[in-house]
Amino acid sequence: MDKQAVAPEGDSGSNTNNSIVHGDILEAILSQVPLIDLASACYVSRSWNRAVFSSLRRVNKIKPWLLLHTQSQRTMAPYLTTAHAYDARSHVWIEIKNNQPSSFDFLLRSSHSTLLYTLSPSKLSFSFDPLHLAWHHVDAPRVWRTDPVVALVGDKVVVAGGACDFEDDPLAVEMYSVDTRAWEICQSMPAVLKDSAASTWLSVAVNSRQLYVTEKYSGITVSFDPSTKGWSGPFHLRQFDHEKKVFYSVITFANDRLIAVGLTGEAEDVKSLKIWQVNIKGGSLEELKEIGEMPKALLEKLKGNKEICSGSGSASLTSVSVTSMGDSVYLNNPSNSEDLVLCEIGECGDDECKWSEIKNVVVDEEDAKIKGRLILTCSSVGIGDLQRALLHENPRSVYFKQIQ
C-alpha cells in the first residue's frame, strides 16, 4: 500500500516551497522558537520580521526573564561572576557570556527586582537595564553603610539605612538622581525600624513613584516618596491577621499592584505560602485580599523536600525571596535554590494565580550545589534588547547560549 509514495514529489514541492511557511503556520512555528533565536529570525526577510512580532503579540507572548547572577565566595576580590537567565516564554535557561570573564571587586547585591549594585567606601555602581550590561559608577553616599536598601524609584536611586549604628545614624537616607547626577540627603527612615534598618531584615517593593519597605518578621511597613523626600507610615501589614498565623512576609509589585507573600505556621513547619493584594488607603492598610496559595507539592519543593508526604520531610523554610516584573513573581528559598517557583498573577479583578516549578540548572553538576552567592533579579527582555546586546560593535556585547 506504499505504492503511491512514488508520486512526483519534486513537482508538488517546488511549486509551493516559496510560500509554504507563512501566516498562521509561520507564527505557530515561531511561537516554539526561543526568544534568543527570534533575534536573528527577524533578519531572514521582511515578512519574517513582521511574523516574529505578530507571533510574539498573538501566539506566545514575551514573559519576563528571571536573571540569576552567581558570585564566587572567595574571601578576596575580584569576585568572579556568572549570569544566567530563565525565559519562561520558551522554558529555557540561557547562559549570558561576556567576551571577557566578568568580575567585581565588591559584592554584587540587589534589594529589589530591577536593580543590581555594588557598594564600596568610595563608589556606588549600579545597573538597571534589562540584561544588566550597562553600569553607572558614582561617588558613594556620604554615610558609610554595610547593608543598605538600594532601590530605583523613577530616575532616583534611593539608598536607605544599613549604616553602622555606633558611627552614624543607622536610618540615614540619601538619594542619587540619575538625571542630575547629584546626591541629596533625605528624611531618615522612621524610628520604628531602628533595630532592623538593613536589607537583611527588610523587603522592598518599588513602582515608578514610591518605595515600600516592610520588616520581614514583623510586617511593619513604611513608604518613601522621592518627590517629597519623606516617609509615611508605619502601618502593620498583618494587622488583620488576628490569629497570628503569618510569621514572615515580603512584598513586591506585580501588574502594578502591591502584593504580599507570606508564610503561615512556623519556620520548622510551614503550613502554607499565600499571596495577598495589599490595598492601601490614605497611608494606612485598608485590606489584605488573598489572591492565591502555593500548591502543597510546590511548597515542599521550595522547602527542599525531595520526597513529598514522606513524613520525614521536615525541611524548614525560614525565608522566601521574591523578584517580579509585570505579572510574573519568582519565588526562591535562599537556603535551597535548587527549585524555584514562578507565580503568574492575573490582571486586576482576575485573581487567578498560575504556579509553575522551575528546576534551577545553575547548580554545580558534581555536588548539585550552587557555587557561591546567588543574586536574583527580574527583567522585561525584548527582541530589541537582545539585538542591541548582540551588536557586534557594542563593547559590552555578549552572547547567549541555551542550556540543554
Binding site: D2, I20, V21, D24, I29
Partner: protein, 175 residues
Amino acid sequence: MASSSSSSSCSSSSEKKITLKSSDGEALNVEKNVALEFEPAKGFLEDNSEEADDEAIVVPLPNVSAAVLSELIPYVKQRLELSAKPVQKKLIKAFDDQFTRHLSDDKLGELMLAANYLGVNYLLDVLCDVTADRIKNKSVEYVREFLGIQNDFTPEEEAELRAQCPWAFEGVDQD
C-alpha cells in the same frame, strides 16, 4: 482468540470506506473515521449525508497530493488507535517523534501545509515544533535555504545587517 474486542468494534461502522480524491487525481480509499479527521472531508460528508451509500462518495481534496495523503492517512489512523486507548502521553510523543524524525525538509513543509488545510491540529502542532527545532540556533541563510524564503532586504540593508550582526549569519550549530 487474541483478536477479541478491538477487531469486533472496528468491523462495524468505522470500517466503512470513503474515497478521497487528491490534487493529482488519485483516488484513495480510507476508513470513514480517518476521513472524518480531515475538516474538508468532514464538511463534505455532512453536506452529503443523505447519500445512502458511503462507498459512492468521492471527497475532493484539491490542495493535497496523493504522495502527502498516503503519508498522512497511516499516521492519522495509528494516532486515532493510540488515542482511543488510555495510553500515556509519552507513547503518543514517541509515536510522533518516530513519524517526524526522518522527514525531509521539503516533506515537512508539505505536510505542514496539508495538516493546516485539513485541520489536523495535533499533527500541525507537532510539525511546527519540529520545524522550530530545525531552525533554532541556525544561521539566517540556512533558514532561508531550508524554507525557501525570498530575501527581500535591499543589498544595502543586507550588508548593514551582516556588518552589525554577523552572529545571525554565522549560526551556532553546524548547518
